[in-house]
């Protein structure tokens, strides 16, 4: 909590504040994309020749992404806010230490008092003094389908959020802007659930074995064939958990002597998988193709550090939609770079599969590209398909290799049969194989909802991050006090939203996040928008000044990359 340190001294420019904040994550400032400059966002204005970034022809339609700069006053006030919180944190810790204030947190057993402390004190400072104040905004228990509306169990705290009591009341019909129910398949009625119920009665819920031993059911084989045809790849393999799909398969693909180029905002599962693999990891700036190209070029020209041997292979890790930024990967450029430099591409479509593209095939479909150009197509079934688990699709050789070498296939229990059935039926629905146009309508509805909701929020004057087609909509709150206030005010108005702050975001970029769904009707969205408007006025959240800096006007900062070698 050394926030004051990051308030840069001297000539105080906003971008330098932003860069300080980014420094928290060991990376340099975000390069904002701008709708005002959507022509220049595909055409490079500077004289420097960049093979791919300059090539606007790679995109078939305008690629509009906006990351409006943080207003300077807001940035300063945010730091002041964290400063005050930190000071009070120390004061409260002092009071707790001298038993003036009652200590609520659990303590070590008496018998083990002389053991080395299990936690570092600093680690818990943030939890104790900052998170605890607004803890009621997370883990809100629900007791219904996580559909367009959701029932939330009311809870109270009499000890400043240290513990919660359930009052027994249920807050009914809360508008759900938090669940990843992009296509609206989170339902408890309908054909998917009927099919799942049937399989449940026939198979039971568990499998009690791994794929390689005796847990490979006919259902799994059916699912994998379907996933492969859905993605338009030769073969696919399904796993029981989306997180583990990344963390347990990346180590099978790369190892020592290989290089991983990873986007700075990649999900924790990709980061963990990369670390477990033992490969060298270098980070490029979020969605920044110049940064990626520089790393690629340097990697091939200079080879491995110290030994100077050439890298065995280079794997680029990107996500389709970044879940905290709402940005879409610049896939056409990534593919062009990957081809030029003979690297391999691992695309995590956790949020984009089903939610993007005219036929719901994800980001590849959105840009009208060939799935063969992506070496590893990874995604999850948790979000758009309303189930759980993950998959990897690609060439037959890749999947054969994973079937023999994936950690999941050898050591982890396979997918539950009713869950498999939910995926199969919902996927068939999206593909139109069920004989209805329901899937297509859902995809269209989601796209419309996304554009509408984003446009309206921008008109109201909020700072909204991300791509205009991304169903993940971050609304910037900045100040720590507003995180809690926004979450609570929205719930008071019967709307459930997700608010996030540090460490999930850079310290000054706290935000609220809305996830749109095909299940949201216009009426629901309008109600939500009306309330957001009101709360926005109440909390003074309408920061936008529409003073947008085009992406490429910002200098490309050639700071050295971070390197980890474990």
């Amino acid at each position: 909590m050394e926030t004051p340190k990051y308030v840069c001294t001297g000539a105080f420019s906003v971008s330098s504040v932003a860069s300080c904040a980014r420094g928290q994550r060991g990376s340099a400032p975000e390069l904002p994309f701008s709708p005002a400059a959507h022509i220049s966002s595909v055409a490079f204005p500077s004289l420097q020749v960049h093979h791919v970034t300059q090539n606007g022809g790679l995109y078939k339609k305008p690629f509009n992404e906006a990351f409006e700069e943080t207003p300077m006053l807001v940035a300063v006030l945010t730091y002041v806010g964290y400063g005050v919180l930190t000071l009070f944190g120390y004061l409260r810790d002092f009071l707790r230490h001298w038993r003036i204030e009652k200590c609520h947190h659990a303590t070590e057993r008496k018998e083990q008092q002389d053991f080395v402390s299990l936690y570092q004190d600093f680690e818990n400072f943030y939890t104790r003094n900052l998170y605890m104040r607004i803890r009621d905004n997370w883990n809100r228990p629900i007791c219904s389908v996580p559909g367009a509306r959701v029932d939330i169990m009311e809870r109270q705290s009499h000890d400043y959020n240290w513990s919660f009591k359930y009052t027994g009341n249920i807050i009914k019909g809360v508008i759900n802007m938090g669940s990843y129910n992009y296509l609206g398949f989170a339902r408890n009625t309908g054909s998917c659930q009927e099919a799942a119920a049937k399989v449940l009665e026939e198979y039971g819920v568990g499998v009690c074995s791994t794929r390689q031993e005796i847990g490979n059911l006919d259902k799994h084989e059916e699912l994998e064939k379907l996933v492969a045809s859905f993605l338009g790849v030769e073969a696919a393999m399904a796993y029981g958990m989306g997180f583990a799909t990344n963390s347990m398969n990346i180590p099978a693909l790369v190892g020592k002597g290989c290089l991983i180029l990873s986007d700075e905002l990649n999900h924790a599962s990709l980061v963990l998988g990369a670390r477990l693999s033992g490969a060298t990891i270098r980070i490029f700036k979020h969605n920044n193709m110049q940064s990626l190209e520089k790393l690629l070029k340097d990697a091939i020209v200079y080879g491995q550090p110290r030994t100077r041997r050439p890298w065995k292979k280079i794997l680029i890790l990107v996500e389709g939609i970044y879940s905290m930024e709402g940005s879409i990967v610049r896939l056409p450029e990534v593919i062009a770079l990957k081809k030029k430099y003979k690297a391999y591409l691992y695309l995590d479509e956790a949020h984009s599969i089903g939610a993007l593209g005219p036929t719901g095939r994800g980001v590849v479909d959105y840009f009208g590209l060939d799935p063969e150009d992506v070496d590893v197509m990874m995604g999850t079934f948790t979000k758009s398909f309303g189930a759980s688990g993950g998959y990897i699709g690609g060439k037959k050789e890749l999947i054969d290799y994973l079937r023999t070498h994936s950690h999941s296939a050898v050591y982890a229990t396979s997918l539950s049969p009713p869950v498999v059935e939910q995926i199969v039926t919902s996927m068939k629905c999206i593909m139109g194989q069920d004989g209805t146009t329901l899937g297509k309508e859902c995809i269209q509805q989601l796209a419309e909802n996304t554009r509408y909701f984003r446009r309206r929020l921008k008109e109201m004057g909020f700072i909204i991050y991300g791509n205009e087609d991304s169903p993940v909509v971050p609304l910037m709150l900045y100040m720590p006090a507003k995180i809690g206030a926004f979450g609570r005010e929205m719930l008071k108005r019967n709307i459930g939203v997700v608010v996030v702050g540090f460490p999930a975001t850079p310290i000054i970029e706290s935000r609220a996040r809305f996830c749109l769904s095909a299940a949201h009707t216009k009426e629901i969205l309008d109600t939500a928008l009306k309330e957001i408007d009101e709360v926005g006025d109440l909390l003074q959240l309408k920061y936008s000044r529409h003073r947008l800096v085009p992406l490429l006007d910002r200098p490309f900062d050639e700071t050295t990359y971070e390197e980890t070698e474990d």
């Binding site: 002389d114 228990p141 389908v145 989170a186 005796i214 997180f243 347990m248 890749l398």
Partner: protein, 473 residues
Amino acid sequence: MATAAEQWVLVEMVQALYEAPAYHLILEGILILWIIRLLFSKTYKLQERSDLTVKEKEELIEEWQPEPLVPPVSGDHPALNYNVVSGPPSHNIVVNGKKCVNFASFNFLGLLDDPRVKAAALVSLRKYGVGTCGPRGFYGTFDVHLDLEDRLAKFMQTEEAIIYSYGFATIASAIPAYSKRGDIVFVDRAACFAIQKGLQASRSDIQLFKHNDMADLERLLKEQEIEDQKNPRKARVTRRFIVVEGLYMNTGTICPLPELVKLKYKYKARIFLEESLSFGVLGEHGRGVTEHFGISIDDIDLISANMENSLASIGGFCCGRSFVIDHQRLSGQGYCFSASLPPLLAAAAIEALNIMEENPGIFSVLREKCKRIHKALQGISGLKVVGESFSPAFHLQLQESTGSREEDVKLLQEIVNHCMDRSIALTQARYLEKEEKCLPPPSIRVVVTVEQTDEELERAARTIKEVAQAVLL
């Protein structure tokens, strides 16, 4: 006066210049020129730097050929072609079209196709649908999850429990939540792969001790103690953990928990216990290895188990004191960053717990069956039984290896295939040979469940005996 003296010096210098020999003047002139040259020339380089030209770089890029993304897999790789199970993987199982009695799935208590479990899951499905569409933090916490955590904590008689949506991710996330870089973990050589991955993610210092060898563990602990005395400042912040399994997945043996607890207090190291095989199996009420040895559960810092074996659902849990467990709600990666467990699976686990609580006799039935087949399998020529007599999962290893792992695997696979033909479904224990820290020898894993009748157990033992004789002799 001073000026007169200075003038005198100057005159003397001019005089000296006249008097100096010519060669001297020339030499000095050259030296002066040399100094000037040195002053104005660039600093010297240790080596000639030659930056690559753009063209050279392009050539290098053109030249570089990466390895293929994955090496080719031959079509007859033993792990490539999976067995296909049609229908439910319960007591009677159809493997590759053959009807068999299941001696391979970890369905110890036969709850996989229990009608009560199915009914409870169905009720949940009708209420909540299938998926949760979010992590626990963001509207992915369902009332069923809270119920299940409560029930698990009560069942295990601990303060708190936390559930994960994937068995493998449970211990693999729990270890790095506590043990960080610089901490020391003492771990049994036979520890399962999930523990190995958790340790790797923690980046801690790992000390392996011989399987179940307490003397070896104590030796390492002592060495550490001596090390600590040398550097007490560092020792004050170095956490020490002992990670063991209740029943070892790779060996079928039980850990000597009473000795471990003694060592824990003697050397002030915390114990993490992985109970995936022993939870719902050992002890009078199925509480696992602590109950088996009559050890207070509070002496163990963290117990982790999956719900994929005895409970026949999906997912895993950790339990212990709130002081320990609560930390994972913000630091357990597999908990924070993953979608939560589908509610129907949580509901199935709750019902399975109900059944376990209502019929505590089920555990002694299981133990009896284990002992029966264990005894029946003794004395097979060419095969040895590895594992405790009360362990529902144990291994059959070759008494004498052929010398090559590949050949051993082939032989064992032949036994498995013949047993399958004679309607006994078995499987080899599978490992990633290059990834395992200490690769166990190849083996057939036999799993006992309460659903197997005495007659079936006898028949299985007989079949294995006959097939082994035919294959190995």
